[in-house]
């Protein structure tokens, strides 16, 4: 059974990647690779929707930082969607991620702030 799944949705203004399940040391690297693959150079923005992620730890946080760096180098932006009620919100808050990465409560909000 796969620990996590990723679904991509291409819209006019952004690629939305919706992750479900658990993200840890065992799958963070391959999820990161899938994200990079889904972002060709002509796309401008990645919205990483983590609202259905049930578990996320430091390996996941590292993935987010690395992803941000790679996209930034290509002139692409990234936003995270994490409702404050989601289980992985705590881990991200504990890691002080909000100071470095754009965060939104909903996908709609992340789209609007482009």
């Amino acid at each position: 059974m796969r620990l996590a799944d990723v679904e991509f949705e291409r819209t006019e203004r952004a690629v939305v990647a919706r992750v479900t399940g658990e993200v840890d040391l065992s799958n963070a690297a391959s999820i990161g690779a899938a994200m990079v693959d889904s972002m060709p150079n002509d796309e401008h923005r990645l919205i990483l929707d983590l609202s259905s992620v049930e578990y996320l730890d430091s390996a996941g946080i590292q993935l987010i930082y690395q992803l941000r760096e790679r996209l930034h180098a290509r002139g692409q932006t990234m936003a995270l969607v994490i409702p404050s009620s989601s289980p992985s919100h705590d881990a991200l808050r504990l890691a002080g991620l909000s100071q470095h990465v754009e965060m939104a409560e909903t996908v709609e909000q992340a789209r609007g702030s482009d």
Binding site: L25, Y55, D57, S58, I61
Partner: protein, 531 residues
């Protein structure tokens, strides 16, 4: 032809040919029967070679089926068109043919010459007016087969013909039985699941004469839940076995994307209706969550499951919906309950309890009484099969599958391979253990996160060339949970900008963290009050 000429009866050598009419012989199976036939014929006629070719009705050819002295004929799969050569002419004209000098005769099969056969005698095999094959004998030295030899061979053919037909029919049925059995076996799960907190056990036994459509399945679902299913396809044989394979696959596919067992069965019902041929099956399906002990069951016409534990077995009172494929737009309901720690859910098919002349309700009481003392799912299966399933002459197939909610120990002790995939099991074990200790949702999330981080660190340091392991021990004293993670590697100093975040997280969510490194390895001890 069936009555023996007087001069044949007189010969003791031909006595053995009489026995070829014995119906018992044809139960040997075709190969053994033909082997017996050829041995006796060769002896009776003192022939060097003997072969039997049977008619393949589809191609209208004779196919070498058994031989002695010219085994190559069978090995090479020699096929002779009706009407051609020696055997082909015998079949076509339905007469005995004697060839005194093979070298100067019309022979279709070059093998006969290559083997040095000089003379041949063959007769047709005819059963109730139908030609079924050709039986022939050969001699490596020139030989004149006498009319007495012809009579002996014809006598053998006449005695053996019906036996061959019976054996052929018998092996066709047997083959179907074997195919169905093989199909059934290959469609049942080869290994049961390995999910934290759950033990699964299962048994299957086909009926002695026919394979039915009983099946079971146990699989892991997303989020660490376990799906368990049992079903019974109406009908027998290869078709039922094939249908059960389709149902099992379809159920598993629907189950992955559909959390409700009732909705899963409804989709399976539509699947059966869409098959366009009459098919009906009963099925029960349950989803168990080992983290919350929650059990959801739905049934489409299947017998009620049992829950065994605490010295008793009780029937689960769920109202089954109609069998799959029975009605258009049938609807199925979910039944929610708890499968407490130490309890076992038992699914079975009717073959386990249906006995001629015994009311079903009585059989179910017998089953309840029998299983009440069982202390595990494995013991449930063992008891049921030992006591209720006859060793021989089983009239219907029997399938049984159980899942057991294992008791959570007071102290959690795990020894795991130092591989990232072990982390999932660590978290599942932690959540189950913390819940059994009465921790609230936030505490469960925090402590699970901290322990998983510490284990991830242990996995990352594992550098030993041998397969490495790490250990986790979690216990509670008064209101404090202590978790210890030990490995054989050296604690790695945080490297790079984002390393060491795990340790920060552990420090934030736990009340106390202590890391000690020694020659043996590294140990992380974490404490948190849970009230």
């Amino acid at each position: 032809m069936a009555s023996a000429p007087p001069d044949v009866v007189a010969s003791t050598r031909t006595q053995t040919l009489y026995g070829l009419g014995d119906p018992v012989l044809s139960e040997l199976g075709l190969n053994e029967f033909l082997d017996e036939l050829l041995t006796r014929v060769r002896e009776a006629l003192s022939a060097d070679t003997v072969a039997i070719l049977l008619l393949d009705r589809e191609s209208n050819e004779l196919v070498a089926r058994a031989a002695k002295g010219i085994e190559e004929e069978v090995e090479q799969g020699v096929r002779i068109p009706i009407g051609q050569g020696f055997a082909g002419r015998i079949a076509n004209e339905r007469v005995a043919i004697f060839i005194a000098d093979v070298d100067h005769a019309d022979i279709h099969n070059p093998l006969l010459r290559e083997k040095g056969i000089r003379s041949l005698l063959g007769v047709p095999l005819i059963v109730e007016g139908d030609l079924i094959g050709v039986l022939h004998v050969g001699s490596l030295t020139p030989r004149v087969f006498t009319s007495r030899d012809v009579a002996v061979l014809q006598f053998a053919a006449a005695r053996a013909g019906p036996g061959i037909e019976r054996a052929r029919l018998f092996s066709a049925l047997e083959r179907e039985h074997r195919v169905a059995m093989l199909l059934q076996r290959s469609l049942l799960p080869r290994r049961l699941i390995e999910v934290v907190g759950v033990a699964a056990a299962a048994r299957y036994l086909p009926a002695s004469d026919e394979v039915g459509g009983d099946w079971y399945d146990v699989f892991e679902l997303p989020h660490g839940e376990v799906g368990v299913a049992i079903g019974d396809v109406v009908g027998h044989g290869v078709r039922a076995a094939a249908l059960m394979g389709q149902l099992r696959t379809a159920l598993h596919a629907y189950a992955v994307s559909e959390r409700s067992p009732a909705r899963t069965l409804e989709r399976l019902d539509r699947f059966v209706q869409g098959m366009g041929e009459f098919a009906m099956a009963t099925c029960a399906y349950a989803v168990f969550d080992p983290e919350s002990s929650e059990l959801r069951i739905a049934s489409a016409g299947h017998l009620p499951p049992l829950i065994v534990g605490n010295g008793e077995a009780r029937l689960v009172g769920i109202a089954p919906a109609a069998p799959l494929g029975a009605f258009m737009y049938g609807s199925v309901a979910d039944h929610e309950m708890a499968l407490a720690e130490g309890e076992t859910l038992v699914f079975y098919t009717d073959g386990l309890i249906e006995r001629r002349g015994v009311p079903l309700s009585e059989s179910m009481q017998t089953l309840r009484a029998l299983l009440g003392t069982a202390e595990s799912g494995e013991e449930v299966c063992r008891l049921a099969f030992e006591r209720l399933v006859p060793a021989q002459g089983l009239r219907d197939d029997v399938a049984m599958v159980t899942i057991e909610n294992l008791v959570v120990p007071h102290t959690l002790e795990l020894r795991m391979p130092a591989e990232p995939r072990a982390l999932t099991d660590v978290r599942r074990s932690m959540r189950r253990w913390l819940r059994s200790q009465g921790a609230d949702a936030q505490t469960i999330a925090d402590v699970t996160l901290a322990v998983s981080e510490a284990c991830a660190n242990a996995i990352e340091h594992a550098y030993s060339p041998a397969p490495a392991e790490f250990e986790l021990r979690v216990s509670r004293q008064d209101g404090t949970v202590t978790a210890t993670v030990g490995d054989v590697g050296r604690w790695r100093e945080p490297r790079g900008e984002h390393r060491g975040r795990g340790l920060t997280i552990i420090g934030t969510v736990m009340d106390e963290v202590d890391v000690s490194s020694g020659g043996e390895g590294t140990e992380v001890v974490m404490r948190r009050r849970i009230g």
